[in-house]
């Protein structure tokens, strides 16, 4: 088996060396990648400036489809953010040791994905400078924000999620930054000196640290369920056929974890290959992530089936029409991309040999990312384009502005991830070492 032949770390110092290899001075390829990502991001900023200057008319958004690529992308990135918390908090509580080679990468992805996601509601409102309307303060007439609106819930949910995921990342990073401080001789040591907050790994410090991580995990676990549930309620509490359905919350959460884990694989496979982290991020990690993909893909498939079944069973003409339209209407192609990528493509992952095949996992993960983006696209656009009155039906085509900003969201995310990669240990050294001492490091 592939897992057997891969090297395991020789000793604890080796783990430091392996991981800190990512902190070496950048290679030309890395610089090129940063430049490319920066370029695409700049194009996105240009498109945004264009949109801001000329108004929302430059997008494809028009009656009746007033939510399009921006909201789709918002939901997509919030979803991506979920894997980090799943891997770091939930698996921590369940004491699944395999998580520790990938949790740091996943946590960092969470932070950048949430930050990416958080921009889309702002882009979507068009008048960027009015963002503070979402904060709970009274306007000139003394009127407060409407807490009954799910969009307000979103502000709180995503705001909390951003804060907690950043704190989670930092708390986990402190001991590793201390290790970097003791090892990296260049200018960054001053940065590490500050960011390690005087950490020395004393018994006293670890005691409080362990307690804090436990509590943060305990808080982050229900948080991760709530965030995507709240996002799902943006749709589900409305009365739009195809949106108003009770299963949305757990279905969205499962989909979020599904896409998030896929994104972890998409990102970590190249990182592992280019920095030779094979001893730390091993095939067994992909095997385990593959199991999560199988599980969540099944849940998502179950939700699709339930929705279609209930629409038919309801004998409600509007529900039936909405789902008929979804599968065979104007957006049939998007729906079938979604079903193919999310339910059919992951099927081979039921077989262990396939899960251990890193290349296969990587390709599958890319398909899942595509499929999950289309899932949100399908839900949003098919729902809005065919509501109750046929006189108000429409078709939505995204404009180049939206597509540019969508592309820029990926490059924006990747750019931050690449920078993080060079600045901080991408693998939770302390935890990998902990497992090392528990398993291989017999006395």
């Amino acid at each position: 088996m592939a897992a057997m032949t891969e090297p395991i770390p020789a000793n604890a110092d080796q783990i430091n060396e392996d991981v800190f290899r990512t902190l070496q001075p950048p290679t030309p390829l890395y610089v090129l990648a940063i430049l490319l990502m920066g370029g695409i991001t700049t194009a996105g900023v240009g498109a945004l400036a264009y949109q801001t200057y000329f108004g929302m008319g430059v997008t494809g958004l028009q009656h009746p489809v007033m939510w399009g690529v921006y909201i789709t992308t918002f939901v997509f990135w919030v979803g991506i953010a979920h894997a980090g918390t799943l891997i770091s908090a939930i698996l921590y509580l369940f004491r699944a040791k395999w998580r520790n080679a990938i949790n740091r990468g996943a946590e960092a992805m969470t932070v950048f994905a949430v930050i990416t996601a958080g921009q889309f509601p702002l882009i979507h409102i068009g008048r960027l400078w009015k963002f503070y309307f979402m904060l709970p303060y009274p306007n000139q007439r003394g009127l407060w924000v409407n807490f009954k609106s799910p969009l307000m819930w979103d502000v709180f949910a995503v705001g909390t999620y951003t804060t907690i995921s950043i704190l989670f990342l930092i708390v986990g990073l402190i001991p590793d930054i201390a290790a970097a401080r003791d090892r990296i001789p260049d200018w960054r040591r001053h940065l590490y000196n500050v960011l390690s907050f005087g950490w020395r790994g004393t018994g006293e410090q670890w005691r409080h640290h362990a307690r804090a991580v436990l509590h943060l995990s305990g808080l982050a676990t229900p948080l991760v369920l709530s965030v995507h549930s709240v996002v799902s309620w943006d749709f589900a509490v409305s009365l739009v056929p195809g949106w108003h359905t009770t299963i949305f919350a757990p279905y969205f959460v499962a989909g979020a974890i599904f896409s998030g884990i896929a994104m972890v694989i998409t990102v970590l496979v190249p990182v592992r290959a280019s920095f030779g982290l094979h001893a730390v991020i091993r095939a067994e990690h992909f095997d385990n992530m593959g199991k999560f993909i199988v599980l969540t893909s099944t849940i998502v498939g179950y939700a699709y089936a339930t929705e279609f079944f209930m629409a038919w069973y309801s004998t409600n003409a509007f529900e039936q029409a909405a789902f008929w339209h979804r599968a065979f209407g104007d957006y049939w192609w998007a729906t079938w991309i979604m079903i193919t990528c999310n339910v059919i493509v992951p099927l081979p992952l039921w077989i262990k040999r396939v899960r251990l095949n890193v290349t296969w996992m990587w390709i599958t993960s890319i398909f899942i990312n595509i499929g999950m983006w289309f899932e949100r696209y399908v839900i949003i656009t098919t729902g809005l384009s065919h509501e109750y009155s046929p006189a108000a039906w429409g078709y939505y085509t995204p404009s180049w502005v939206e597509m540019t900003i969508l592309a820029a969201s990926f490059s924006f995310f990747m750019m931050f991830f690449l920078i993080f990669l060079r600045m901080f240990p991408i693998v939770a050294v302390q935890e990998v070492k902990e497992t090392y001492y528990e398993n291989e490091g017999a006395r």
């Binding site: 509580l93 369940f94 699944a96 229900p222 369920l225 549930s229 309620w233 589900a236 509490v237 409305s238 009365l239 108003h244 359905t245 009770t246 299963i247 949305f248 919350a249 757990p250 199991k291 099944t298 179950y302 939700a303 339930t306 929705e307 209930m310 069973y313 309801s314 004998t315 409600n316 039921w350």
Partner: protein, 432 residues
């Protein structure tokens, strides 16, 4: 260890007598009930059947889940879960009674009524086809369960196989055909069970989703909720976790289990009840919030029948709270909510209570009892609406018929549990 627990032994007489008596009480009560008030008798029967059928299957899902997640739970504890699954085939048989009583339970079995009221649903809900579908599903589930049990139990049958006086020797021989020696069998069982575990879990979810749709949702034939099937199945799983905890706590000092249900495992079980009850509450809430916010009469009718008018959209305030909370079924629904979430959450929040047998046991029992009421609440208000109650229809979860039939199901469940131990001595140690 395996040598001592694999020896055939007689059934523990005390429990057998008690559970036999309970089963008898149930059968007699049901019989008398049928002659007096068949509607009520079938209603009570359906409620209890739902509770125990999904629980037994849920126990096997728990066993599967432990195998899939590499949980460090060895032999005897798996055997307890396996024995709980012994009720699965019987639940298929008991379903026939629901079929017999169909005209007392389901309005839609009357094609004239169906054509008039739920036109379009006859394709899904009609007299023989719905029941045939469910029988096929339950038979499939029983088949899957049997295969899983066979794989799981087989390595423990070594001693029984060599002993000519084993009860049901023929079956034991059949289940140990091609015996490879205990060590090889154990390794093989572990591998096979892991494969089968995924099938068990998946079949459970799909199977009981349909049962929930056909046997509960269809009682209120206009109501739909995409969450409901998953919510019901999850409840079944959680009730199995609670009962497994309770059984393990009761038997933790009996011979084959002694030293198995350690403090750290009690802690794990406590964590499971804690986490899964939060998830149950989450599912409950997610379903409720969407219906509450949407405020479509078709959807809220189901909530109003159970939670009254206090918790529908515009009456979440204190004025008139006590009047509205005294509407039929409302307090009962709130009790389930307290037993299934409030108590497990607040009591099991710390580490100590999870490890303390008496506290953990009380919470587990409360959760189990909560599910019994919850199943009652899912079934009854659809058949005896609050309006009917207000007009004078007598309805209580604690009448003689309700309690009697419930005891009967408890008796039957544990008779299966003990019988399984009789036939497969490695399965469960007797109480010494």
């Amino acid at each position: 260890m395996s040598a001592t627990i694999s020896q055939p032994r007689s059934m523990p007489r005390g429990p057998m007598l008690i559970f036999g008596a309970l089963a008898l009480v149930g059968i007699v009560t049901f019989g008398v009930g049928l002659s007096q008030d068949p509607e009520r008798a079938y209603r009570v029967y359906l409620h209890n059947w739902l509770m125990w059928a999904v629980l037994a299957q849920g126990a096997l899902v728990l066993s599967s889940a432990m195998r899939l997640t590499n949980a460090n739970w060895q032999g005897p504890i798996h055997r307890v879960l396996d024995s709980m699954g012994a009720f699965v085939p019987l639940s298929l048989l008991l379903f026939v009674v629901v079929w017999i009583g169909r005209s007392h339970l389901f309005q839609w079995v009357d094609p004239v009524w169906a054509a008039e009221h739920i036109h379009g649903k006859e394709l899904w809900l009609s007299d023989p086809s719905t029941f045939l579908r469910d029988v096929v599903l339950l038979a499939y589930l029983a088949g899957v369960s049997k295969i899983y049990l066979y794989m799981s139990i087989r390595p423990t049958l070594g001693a029984a196989r060599d002993n000519p006086s084993t009860p049901m020797k023929g079956m034991v021989d059949m289940w140990t055909r091609g015996w490879r020696g205990e060590a090889a069998e154990r390794a093989l069982a572990e591998k096979r069970c892991r494969k089968m575990a995924a099938v068990v879990a998946l079949s459970f979810t799909i199977g009981y989703s349909f049962i929930a749709t056909d046997m509960i949702m269809s009682l209120a034939p206009h109501w739909i909720s995409t969450m409901f099937p998953a919510y019901f199945a999850w409840g079944g799983f959680l009730s199995a976790v609670s009962l497994a905890t309770l059984i393990l706590l009761f038997m933790r000092n009996s011979d084959g289990l002694a030293g198995q249900f350690t403090e750290s495992r009690r802690h794990d079980m406590g964590k499971m009840i804690f986490a899964f009850s939060i998830f149950w509450m989450y599912l409950f809430w997610s379903q409720y919030l969407v219906i509450w916010y949407g405020n479509i009469p078709e959807e809220t009718s189901f909530i109003v029948a159970r939670l009254g008018t206090q918790f529908v959209q515009d009456t979440w305030y204190l004025q008139g709270f006590w009047t509205r909370i005294s509407e039929p079924y409302v307090k009962l629904t709130l009790v389930t909510w307290i037993l299934l979430w409030v108590v497990p959450f607040w009591v099991l929040l710390g580490q100590k209570p999870k490890k303390t047998p008496i506290i953990l046991g009380t919470v587990a029992f409360g959760s189990l009892f909560g599910f019994w009421i919850e199943r009652y609440i899912l079934v009854t208000p659809s058949l005896i609406t609050p309006e009917q109650v207000l007009a004078g229809a007598a309805v209580t979860p604690f009448g003689w018929m309700e309690i009697g039939v419930a005891l009967g199901f408890v008796g039957l469940f544990f008779l299966c549990f003990l019988a399984f131990a009789k036939v497969f001595p490695g399965a469960i140690p007797a109480k010494s």
